[in-house]
């Protein structure tokens, strides 16, 4: 069905947008590298493909005058999802252009900001591209060469969005969301059928304040103390038995 297809594609676009944002955040910092630039490029291309596909699908669905009112409302909702994703993507692309220009990799006098992030972003990019491992095969001057491509792509995206606004008459403020407040706490997905991630419990927050901090650290420490006591008790009991025996 057209709707399910749309939803899957939107999910994919959403995922790629989120990953792209993570990658752009790492730009300019100490986890920046050639690989990162290549990852950015490939994620971007994927995002664009998905965007074009989504757009054609949704415009064809919305142009169809013979759909029912509920269907139309649903398509408008999907349209709002799509356009919000595109806005985010566009802003991130523009920012990556700017930061990329400010932080060229090959110039020795330009230092990367020591943000504390040192790891690589391979896994994020892999998630975006939906592959297991990323292979890097770009040239060494990707950071400058890519920027020109990036500029073209940004103008393409802007054009596309303008066209979208002109052609499709959807009032975004009239759309009602299906999710209520706090919906993100529920672990089932809203649109489509992607895999559900288990929200892990023991996320440690760096210790800054005495009073603050999450309950998780307290929980973990209580667990550790309990286990320690159990082991000590067992050791005492065994020792007592040994002494009794001998």
């Amino acid at each position: 069905m057209g709707k399910d297809e749309c939803k899957t594609m939107l999910d994919a676009l959403n995922k790629v947008t989120a990953c792209y944002r993570h990658l752009v955040i790492a730009l300019g910092s100490t986890s920046d590298s050639q690989n990162l630039r290549e990852e950015l490029k490939r994620t971007r291309k994927k995002a664009q493909e998905l965007a074009v596909a989504n757009r054609t699908k949704l415009t064809s669905l919305l142009k169809d005058k013979s759909i029912s009112k509920e269907d139309r409302a649903e398509y408008e909702r999907l349209w709002v999802l799509f356009s919000s994703s595109m806005e985010l993507l566009e802003v991130d692309m523009k920012r990556s252009l700017e930061i990329g220009q400010d932080f060229p990799l090959k110039v020795p006098t330009r230092h990367l900001i020591q943000t504390g992030m040192t790891g690589s972003t391979t896994t994020v990019a892999a998630r975006a591209m939906s592959v297991q491992n990323m292979k890097y095969e770009a040239d060494s001057n990707i950071d400058t060469a890519d920027l020109r491509d990036l500029q073209c792509e940004i103008s393409q995206v802007s054009q596309m969005m303008e066209e979208m606004e002109m052609k499709v008459q959807v009032a975004p403020w009239a759309v009602e969301a299906k999710q209520e407040a706090g919906a993100e706490l529920k672990s089932n997905m809203s649109v489509g059928n992607s895999s559900v991630g288990v929200i892990s419990i023991c996320e440690e927050e760096p210790k800054e304040e005495e009073g603050g901090g999450s309950r998780d650290t307290g929980f973990a420490s209580i667990c550790a103390v309990v286990i320690f006591l159990v082991i000590v008790t067992v050791a005492v009991v065994l020792g007592y038995l040994v002494i009794n025996m001998s």
Binding site: A18, R77, E184
Partner: protein, 657 residues
């Protein structure tokens, strides 16, 4: 949805006064140098170690060294970098200051820098809050929860997207290694502390209104640009100039006078609410507070404008004027202000009301302005606009300033106020108390409530108005809301036998003001009448008035005043003496003149006619008891003839030809 067409985009998104951002970025880059930059050390957490943490003292030392300034200034500079969001603290993340000790900081990634062209979007904040909600399992801080609810209401159409994106971003973040995850969380949280500060945090992003054009960008040199420059220079040439010695003298005087009253330059008693979050200062200085502070009372002595602009000072001044029986000046001035600043819809009625109350002859609160100003005002009132009473208002303002203000400052009213004024003690808050105060911050009264309070005050004041200033031409008009009865009279016109008009509100005397046809001769006539009435006893009885002329006289008089036929005949009786003659010269008046309700305003519209419509609305003139000299006798009570404004069209009973 953003507006994409740049021609129609009038959104204001450029932040003014943030030219420091580019400079701060340059400094940041210099700090990154491994050899000459700030020394970094690893931060040890329970499980992980994260590199690139810097201590506060290192940052301050580096800044002091680089810019060759002293430690205090380096510290302020460092605090500015933190407040802008380029460096964030790892401990105590809500206070955006640099502490000159071993507390740790870290650099912010360039994506989260506060650059000029990337405004902070609410969508991003909503996504961040949703992510935080997932992370904290529904337990957000109070201000975060408020923001969340607010955004959920106002961005409801995007909420699906926000939830989806939050979940995806959360999962994507988990793909990274543990230390990087921790750093990313810290970075994002620091970014939002700067751009959506929690209560008690001062961030440098509180910059005021956005502007339409980028103030840091160079302006294109179009013909418009040059046209603007030309207009500006032409106007500068035409500007009137003041000698610099004069203007500088004025500046020096102003600074010297207001130095102690400036909360930046000197202490603000009890404490500056913006610094200590304690609102005592504001409660003590409310507009209509009973007991003002000493500083406030001192300001009233600086200039008359200060006194009038402070509502409490104005009240005090009003009280003083009431005692001096010149309250109408201030009331008129306030009425003019109300006209100037009020709504356009009610302007006409306001102008008329002010005219009837203050300016017309026979007005209940007549003010004393010179003839020329009065002419200009009356002429302007034919086509009233906001500034029609400006000349009169200025005149009255100057009068009050030169005359009453000086006396006010020496008066017992003012001295009493000065004695009762309070001088609050200065607060000395400890750090813990300051934090308590910050937590207890609440929004102030809504402007709607303040407005209602103000209007209640005004209504109260209007109800209490005391019309004490009557000139001899004044007649009370019952329909005017301000009139509330007179208990005493100025002795200006006092002669006890002077037939004053009715005091009691129940029976006002007839008035008919015909200003259109007021001529100088009439004025003289009335002046003559008044004066004639002022000397009732002084004149020898007229004596040989021929009865015929007397009759004519009385007829004329009666017609002018308008009487019912009964009194007409009564007055024709020889025993009845009419009051001061209506002829155009001062007539000798018999001492035993009858107590008449003398309408001071004489309707000169009337021609001499014999028959008078019996439904004439004008009071019968009391004709008996010429010995009676009180004018306080009751009149029979038909409604009075109103003061007619000169621009109103003549009604049939006024004009008979």
């Amino acid at each position: 949805m953003t507006i994409r067409n740049p021609l129609r985009d009038h959104g204001q998104r450029y932040r003014p006064r943030i030219a420091c951002l580019k400079k701060a970025e340059k400094v940041l880059l210099e700090m990154q140098d491994l050899k000459t930059g700030v020394k970094s050390q690893p931060q040890r957490l329970v499980i992980t170690t994260i590199p690139h943490a810097i201590t506060g003292e290192d940052i301050i030392a580096w800044l002091a060294d680089r810019f060759q300034v002293d430690t205090q200034e380096a510290r302020s500079f460092g605090s500015m970098l933190v407040a802008l969001g380029y460096i964030y603290p790892l401990q105590d993340h809500k206070r955006l200051v640099i502490k000159p000790d071993a507390s740790l900081y870290r650099f912010q990634t360039p994506y989260f820098w506060p650059t000029q062209q990337w405004p902070v979007e609410d969508t991003d904040y909503a996504i961040y809050l949703a992510k935080r909600n997932i992370r904290k399992k529904g337990i957000l801080e109070v201000h975060e929860q408020e923001h969340y609810n607010h955004l959920h209401k106002w961005m409801n159409h995007k909420w699906d997207f926000i939830v989806m994106q939050a979940k995806e971003q959360y999962r994507a973040a988990k793909e990274r290694k543990k230390p990087d995850r921790v750093v990313f969380d810290c970075q994002e949280r620091a970014y939002w502390v700067v751009h959506r500060p929690p209560p008690g945090t001062v961030s440098a992003m509180d910059y005021g209104l956005d502007r339409l054009i980028d103030p840091n960008a160079d302006e294109a040199k179009t013909p418009d640009f040059y046209a603007r420059i030309m207009i500006f220079t032409q106007q500068s040439i035409m500007r009137p100039r003041v000698k610099s010695s004069v203007s500088l003298g004025a500046v020096v005087k102003y600074c010297a006078t207001y130095n102690n009253h400036d909360p930046f330059l000197s202490k603000c008693l009890p404490s500056n609410p913006w610094l200590t979050d304690d609102v005592t200062y504001w409660t003590l200085n409310m507009p209509y507070v009973e007991i003002p502070t000493k500083m406030r009372v001192e300001r009233w002595t600086f200039s008359f404008a200060e006194l009038l602009s402070d509502p409490r000072g104005r009240n005090d001044f009003r009280l003083f004027l009431k005692k001096e029986f010149s309250g109408e000046n201030l009331a008129f001035w306030e009425g003019c202000e109300d006209l100037k600043w009020g709504e356009a819809a009610t302007m006409r009625e306001k102008a008329e009301h002010i005219y009837k109350t203050f300016l017309a002859r026979g007005a209940p609160r007549w003010i004393n302005i010179d003839g020329k100003t009065m002419e200009i005002t009356v002429k302007g009132l034919k086509h009233p606009h906001r500034y029609v009473l400006d000349a009169a208002q200025t005149h009255i303002y100057m009068l009050m300033k030169k005359d009453s203000y000086g006396r006010y400052q020496k008066s017992p009213v003012f001295k009493e106020t000065v004695k009762k004024a309070i001088c609050p003690e200065e607060h000395h808050f400890t750090d813990a108390q300051l934090e308590q105060n910050a937590k207890k911050r609440r929004p102030s009264l809504s402007p709607i409530i303040l407005r209602q309070m103000e209007q209640e005050q005004k209504a109260k004041m209007a109800a209490n108005v005391d019309i004490t200033q009557l000139c001899r031409f004044t007649t009370p008009v019952p329909h005017l809301a301000v009139y509330s009865g007179i208990t005493d009279f100025p002795s200006a016109n006092a002669s006890p036998s002077l037939p004053f008009l009715a005091h009691s509100p129940a029976c006002p005397s007839p008035i008919s003001v015909a200003l259109d046809s007021t001529s100088a001769s009439e004025r003289r006539v009335e002046a003559g009448e008044g004066e004639g009435e002022g000397n009732p006893a002084a004149q020898a009885p007229a004596g040989g008035n021929v009865s015929k002329s007397r009759m004519a006289l009385s007829l004329h008089r009666l017609l002018k005043r308008g009487c019912t036929p009964a009194t007409l005949f009564a007055s024709l009786s020889p025993k009845c003496h009419s009051a001061a003659g209506t002829s155009s010269h001062i007539q000798p008046i018999s001492p035993d003149q009858p107590s008449q309700a003398l309408p001071r305003r004489i309707g000169n519209f009337f021609q001499i006619k014999v028959d008078i419509p019996p439904e004439c609305r004008i009071y019968p003139i009391e004709s008996e008891d010429e010995d009676e000299e009180n004018r306080a006798a009751s009149r029979g009570g038909v409604g009075a003839k109103e003061i007619i404004c000169p621009w109103e069209s003549l009604t049939p009973q006024n004009g008979t030809g």
